[in-house]
C-alpha cells in the first residue's frame, strides 16, 4: 500500500500539486441473509484501489483507480492534477486549508471476535433459528434475518508528511417480521430498522443482541398490529424510543450541522441547512436539558462514526454541538473550518471508498443521557404516545419540516400504557420540536445506534454514522399526520 501511495504523491507534486493526499483502501464484506426458512443471500466481496486528491492552481481535483500498477498510479495522479487545473477555470478563490500537523500513526479498532473467522455455517444456523422463531407465530408472512460484516483497511498519506494506517471491523445484525392481512402490511424489526444494529465491533455484537430470544415478541407484535387501534391524529406528548430518537437526531441535528451543507456545497442534491453562520452561539436549538456532541473518539463507544483519524488525517475529536440547548458547533473539514475562521477542522471528513472524495459526514452525533428510566418517564406522562422503531422518514432540504413514521406505538394515559397503536406518524419543525424536549432518560437506557446507509454527495456515497440516545419526551407534538387526509 505504502509504495503505491507514495508514488502517487510524488507524481502529483511533480505535476504541480500544491497539496496532495492519497488513500489506498481495501474493503471486504460478507453478507448473509435468510428468508422464510432458506438462505437468501450468501456473498463475499472485496474491493481495493487508490484515490488521489490534489490542490493545483488553487482548485481541487480527484482521480481514482483500482489498477495499482506503477503506470496506472502515475496516470491517476497526473489525471487528478489535470482535473484540478480544469477546476481552476471556474475558481473564485484559491482553496485554503486550516492547518494540521503531520501524523504518523497506526490504529486498529478493537474487535474481540473477528466476524470473518466465525464459520458461515454458524452464522446461517443463527439466522435460521431466528427465522424459525419468527415463523412459529401464525400470521407472519415473511421472515427475514441478516448478518453483515465489513473490514475497512486504509492507508492515508499526504504531502504534509502524514502516514496513517487504520483498520475498522464493523458488524451489523437484525431481523424483520412482516405480516400481511386483509389490506394491510405491518412489520416489526429488531433491534432497529435499516438492517438492525451496526457498530464498529466484531461478532461480539451479535452475541449481545439476543436475536433468537427477541424473535417471538417481535413476531407477535407484527401480527398484533393488525388488531391495534389506528394512531390518533392531534397534538400529544410524545415519547420516542432510543432507536427512533437516533434517527431523529441524524436527520434534524446531524445533517444541518454539516458545515459544507451550510456553505452551499450540497445545494444541488442533499440540500442546505437552516443553521446559517450567524446562528452559531446564538440559536436556542433545543430546550436547556438537551446536550448533543459529535464524538468520533473511541472513548464514546464503538459507533459507526468512531475512528482515530478522519480522511484528511485530522485526529478524532469530541465536538460540542448543542450545549444546554444552545447551538455551539458544526462538523467541519480543513477547508470549511478555514472558510469560517476556525483554527482547526473538527475531523469529520470521510469517504465511502477509494473511488470517492471525503465529505463532511456525521461521526457519532449523540444526545447525552439525562436521568431516570423509561418506566419513570411513562409514569410521569398523563396523555401521550410512545413510538418505537422507524418506518418512514422525510425532511425538507434545509432541515426544518420533518415527518417520521414508526412501526409501533403505545398510548399512554395517566402514566400507564393502555393500548397498542398502529401506523404512528409525527411531524414538526426542527427547532420547535427540540425546544419541546422536557425529559431524557438516563445512561442505563442509552444505546449507541448505527445508521449504516446515510447518503450524500455527487456522485453519491453511503456512510455509516453513529447516534447515541436514551428515550426522551417531547411536549405537544403533531401526531397521526400522514393518515389524517
Amino acid at each position: 500500500m505504502k509504495d503505491f501511495a507514495q508514488r502517487a504523491l510524488e507524481t502529483a507534486r511533480a505535476r504541480g500539486a500544491s497539496y496532495a493526499d492519497v488513500r489506498v483502501t481495501d474493503i471486504r464484506q460478507r453478507y448473509l441473509s435468510t428468508k422464510n426458512g432458506q438462505p437468501a443471500q450468501v456473498r463475499e466481496s472485496e474491493s481495493s484501489g487508490l484515490g488521489v486528491r490534489v490542490v493545483a492552481e488553487g482548485a481541487w481535483g480527484f482521480a481514482a483507480t483500482d489498477d495499482l500498477s506503477r503506470a496506472s498510479v502515475d496516470r491517476t495522479a497526473a489525471q487528478a492534477v489535470s482535473i484540478a487545473q480544469a477546476s481552476a477555470l471556474c475558481q473564485k478563490h484559491a482553496v485554503s486549508l486550516a492547518p494540521e500537523t503531520k501524523v504518523v500513526d497506526r490504529w486498529v479498532a478493537p474487535c474481540r471476535l473477528d466476524p470473518f473467522t466465525v464459520p458461515v455455517s454458524t452464522c446461517l444456523d443463527l439466522l435460521l433459528k431466528v427465522d424459525a422463531e419468527l415463523r412459529r407465530v401464525e400470521g407472519v408472512t415473511l421472515a427475514e434475518a441478516v448478518l453483515d460484516f465489513r473490514r475497512l483497511e486504509q492507508l492515508f498519506v499526504s504531502s504534509q508528511g502524514s502516514e496513517i494506517y487504520q483498520v475498522k471491523t464493523q458488524t451489523g445484525a437484525g431481523f424483520v417480521a412482516t405480516s400481511f392481512l386483509g389490506n394491510e402490511i405491518q412489520r416489526r424489526s429488531y433491534p432497529n430498522s435499516f438492517g438492525g444494529q451496526y457498530q464498529t465491533k466484531g461478532y461480539e455484537l451479535v452475541e449481545e443482541l439476543d436475536l433468537v430470544g427477541q424473535a417471538p415478541r417481535i413476531a407477535e407484535e407484527a401480527v398484533a398490529l393488525h388488531r391495534a387501534a389506528q394512531c390518533p391524529s392531534g397534538v400529544k406528548d410524545l415519547i420516542l424510543g432510543s432507536g427512533q430518537l437516533g434517527l431523529q437526531i441524524h436527520e434534524s441535528i446531524g445533517h444541518p450541522i454539516e458545515l459544507d451543507r451550510v456553505l452551499g456545497s450540497e445545494a444541488n442534491y442533499a440540500g442546505m441547512s437552516f443553521l446559517t453562520l450567524e446562528k452559531l452561539g446564538q440559536l436556542q436549538y433545543a430546550s436547556p436539558i438537551v446536550n448533543v456532541v459529535a464524538d468520533a473518539t473511541p472513548a464514546h463507544g464503538p459507533g459507526l462514526g468512531t475512528f482515530a483519524y478522519d480522511d484528511e488525517g485530522v485526529p478524532a475529536q469530541c465536538t460540542p454541538i448543542i450545549k444546554d440547548g444552545l447551538f455551539v458547533g458544526y462538523l467541519t473539514s480543513r477547508e470549511t473550518a478555514a472558510a469560517i475562521g476556525q483554527p482547526r477542522s473538527s475531523g469529520a471528513m470521510r469517504a465511502e471508498a477509494w473511488n470517492r472524495i471525503p465529505l463532511i459526514r456525521m461521526t457519532n452525533v449523540s444526545l447525552l443521557p439525562g436521568q431516570g428510566t423509561l418506566e419513570e418517564l411513562i409514569a410521569s406522562t398523563d396523555d401521550g404516545i410512545y413510538m418505537e422503531t422507524n418506518r418512514s422518514w422525510s425532511i425538507d432540504d434545509r432541515r426544518y419540516n420533518f415527518q417520521f413514521g414508526t412501526e409501533i406505538g403505545w398510548e399512554i394515559k395517566n402514566g400507564k400504557v393502555t393500548r397498542m397503536l398502529k401506523n404512528p406518524t409525527y411531524a414538526g419543525i426542527t427547532t420547535e420540536f427540540w425546544n419541546s424536549c422536557d425529559a431524557i432518560c438516563g445512561f442505563e437506557a442509552w444505546t449507541l445506534w448505527g445508521t449504516p446507509n446515510c447518503g450524500k454527495g455527487q456522485p453519491p456515497q453511503t456512510m455509516g454514522t453513529g447516534h447515541g440516545a436514551s428515550p426522551a419526551r417531547f411536549r405537544k407534538v403533531q401526531v397521526g399526520v400522514a393518515y389524517s387526509g
Partner: protein, 444 residues
C-alpha cells in the same frame, strides 16, 4: 474500457478455476467523471475507473457469489475459491433452476464516443457558461456535469454470453436567489442531448419567478406535476410490480392483479427498447428483457418475473431478474408511461386554482399497502390562479396515496425522458392531478 473479447478472456480464466457444476460471471468496467459546482465555483471535480468481477457458482444446488475488483489471475482464482467455499456451506435448494443456456438478444445502441471522451476541460467550460448565466441575474449556481461509460459481460458455463456497453451523461443545475430557487436536470447516453444552457435558463427563470414566496394553507389542491416530480413518485410504485413481492405479500398489488386499481387513462409498460431508455437488453441472469405491459387502462395487467420466481409461481419469465442470489427477485427498471397531448402551459391555462410543482424531495413510503407517500416540494413551486402562474410558494409537505393519485389524473403531456433524485430515469408525462393532499408548510 472492457471489450467483449477481454470479458471473454476473463471468463475463460474463471472457468479454469471453478470446479462448480455451473458457473456464471458478471464482468464489468466503469470510467466516470463528474464536475461539481456550487457558489458559482467548481468545488469538487472527480474521476474514477475500475472493474468488477462477480462469480456465482452452483454445486449440487448449493449457490453462492463472490466478487472482486481485480482481473489478475490470482484474484480470479481467489474469488472462485471464495464462492466455492461459501457454496459448500449452504443447504441445497431443491427449487434452484439450472442456469439458462445461450440466448438471442435484440441490439440496443447506447454508446456515444463523444460522451465517452468528454474531458474535464470541456465540462469546466460548460460550467463556466452556466455560472455566467447565473451571475447575469444575480443568482448562485450549483450542480453537476457528469459523463462516463460502462461495459458489462455476463457469461455462464452453459454457453450464455451477453455483452452491453453504454455511455452516460447528466447535467443538473440549481439556481439560488435570496428567497427562492429553481432546478432543472437532464440525463442521456448522448451528451449532445443535454443542452446545459437551456437547463440553466429554465432553472434561472424558476428562481426569478418564485422570489418572495407566499404561503398557502395546507389542504387538497389541483397540482401540475412536472415530469421529474411524477417520476420520483412513480419510483415508489413499480418495485411492487414484481412476482416475488406479490407472492410474498409484501406488494401493494397483493390481491389486486387483474383489477382496475388506477384511472382508465393510466397506461404503463416496462420497455428497455424504447428509444429514450437506457440499460442492457438482458437481466441479471442474462435472460433477454421483454416488453411487459404493467398497467393497461388502469388495470394491473402484468407483473415482471425472474426465472426463479416464474418457476415458483407458475408464470413465464420476463427477463427482469436481479443477479442471484438476492432477496428481491425481480423489478421493472425501464418504465414508459403513456401520456396525452396537453402541454404544461395548456394545463396551467386550464387551472382555476392550483399549484405547479417542479420537483419533489425526500419522498418516503408511509404505508406500504395504501402506498401513502410523503415528501416535500422543492426548487420552484408556484401558485396558479385563473389560468396563470401568479407567484412562488413556500414549500409544502404532501401525504398522498400514489394509488389514489393515479385515479385523479385529469391531463397529461406527451411523455419525455425524465430524471429525478429518488429513482431511476423513466419516460413519463407531466400530469395535472386533482385533490393532491398537502399537510404542512416549511419556512422557505
Amino acid at each position: 474500457m472492457l471489450t467483449r473479447q477481454h470479458a471473454e478472456e476473463i471468463f475463460a480464466k474463471v472457468l479454469k478455476y471453478s470446479t462448480a457444476d455451473e458457473t456464471e460471471a458478471i464482468i464489468s468496467s466503469t470510467a466516470y467523471a463528474l464536475t461539481r459546482f456550487a457558489n458559482n465555483t467548481i468545488h469538487q471535480n472527480v474521476a474514477e475507473e475500475g472493474g468488477a468481477l462477480s462469480v456465482r457458482v452452483v454445486l449440487d444446488r448449493r449457490m453462492a457469489r463472490a466478487s472482486t475488483n481485480k482481473f489478475d489471475e490470482a484474484s480470479i482464482r481467489q474469488t472462485c475459491e471464495a464462492a466455492l467455499t461459501l457454496a459448500r456451506l449452504q443447504p441445497p435448494d431443491p427449487e434452484l433452476l439450472p442456469m439458462p443456456g445461450p440466448q438471442t438478444f435484440r441490439a440496443v445502441h447506447r454508446f456515444h464516443k463523444e460522451t465517452a471522451q468528454l474531458t474535464p476541460q470541456a465540462r469546466a467550460e460548460t460550467v463556466r457558461q452556466v455560472i455566467a448565466r447565473a451571475e447575469k441575474d444575480g443568482l448562485t449556481a450549483a450542480g453537476i456535469f457528469s459523463s462516463g461509460c460502462f461495459a458489462m459481460g455476463l457469461f455462464n458455463s452453459r454457453g450464455l454470453a451477453a455483452f452491453h456497453d453504454e455511455t452516460v451523461s447528466e447535467f443538473s443545475v440549481t439556481m439560488l436567489g435570496e428567497s427562492s430557487s429553481g432546478w432543472a436536470k437532464k440525463t442521456s447516453p448522448n451528451c449532445r442531448e443535454l443542452q446545459p444552457e437551456a437547463l440553466a435558463d429554465r432553472a434561472a427563470r424558476k428562481a426569478l419567478e418564485s422570489r418572495e414566496p407566499r404561503e398557502i394553507e395546507p389542504g387538497k389542491y389541483t397540482v401540475i406535476l412536472e415530469p421529474a416530480a411524477v417520476l420520483d413518485l412513480l419510483g415508489y410504485l413499480f418495485s411492487d410490480f414484481a412476482g416475488l413481492a406479490i407472492h410474498e405479500k409484501r406488494s401493494c398489488l397483493t390481491g389486486r392483479v387483474g383489477q382496475q386499481v388506477f384511472g382508465a387513462n393510466i397506461n404503463v409498460r416496462d420497455d428497455v427498447y424504447h428509444p429514450r431508455q437506457s440499460g442492457a437488453p438482458f437481466d441479471g441472469e442474462g435472460v433477454p428483457r421483454q416488453r411487459v405491459t404493467l398497467i393497461e387502462q388502469g388495470v394491473v395487467k402484468g407483473v415482471v418475473y425472474a426465472r426463479q420466481t416464474a418457476h415458483k409461481t407458475g408464470a413465464e419469465p420476463t427477463g427482469h431478474g436481479l443477479p442471484l442470489p438476492n432477496e428481491i427477485g425481480e423489478t421493472p427498471v425501464n418504465i414508459v408511461m403513456e401520456g396525452g397531448r396537453t402541454s404544461i402551459q395548456e394545463m396551467i391555462r386550464s387551472t382555476k386554482r392550483g399549484l405547479l410543482v417542479t420537483r419533489l424531495w425526500y419522498i418516503r413510503e408511509v404505508d406500504p399497502y395504501q402506498k401513502i407517500l410523503t415528501g416535500m416540494t422543492r426548487d420552484g413551486t408556484f401558485w396558479i390562479e385563473d389560468g396563470k402562474v401568479q407567484y412562488g410558494l413556500r414549500n409544502l409537505r404532501f401525504n398522498q396515496s400514489i394509488i389514489e393519485m393515479l385515479g385523479q389524473v385529469e391531463m397529461m403531456s406527451p411523455p419525455e425522458r425524465a430524471a429525478g433524485e429518488e429513482t431511476f430515469d423513466m419516460v413519463v408525462p407531466a400530469m395535472k392531478v386533482r385533490d393532491f393532499s398537502f399537510s404542512s408548510l416549511t419556512k422557505f
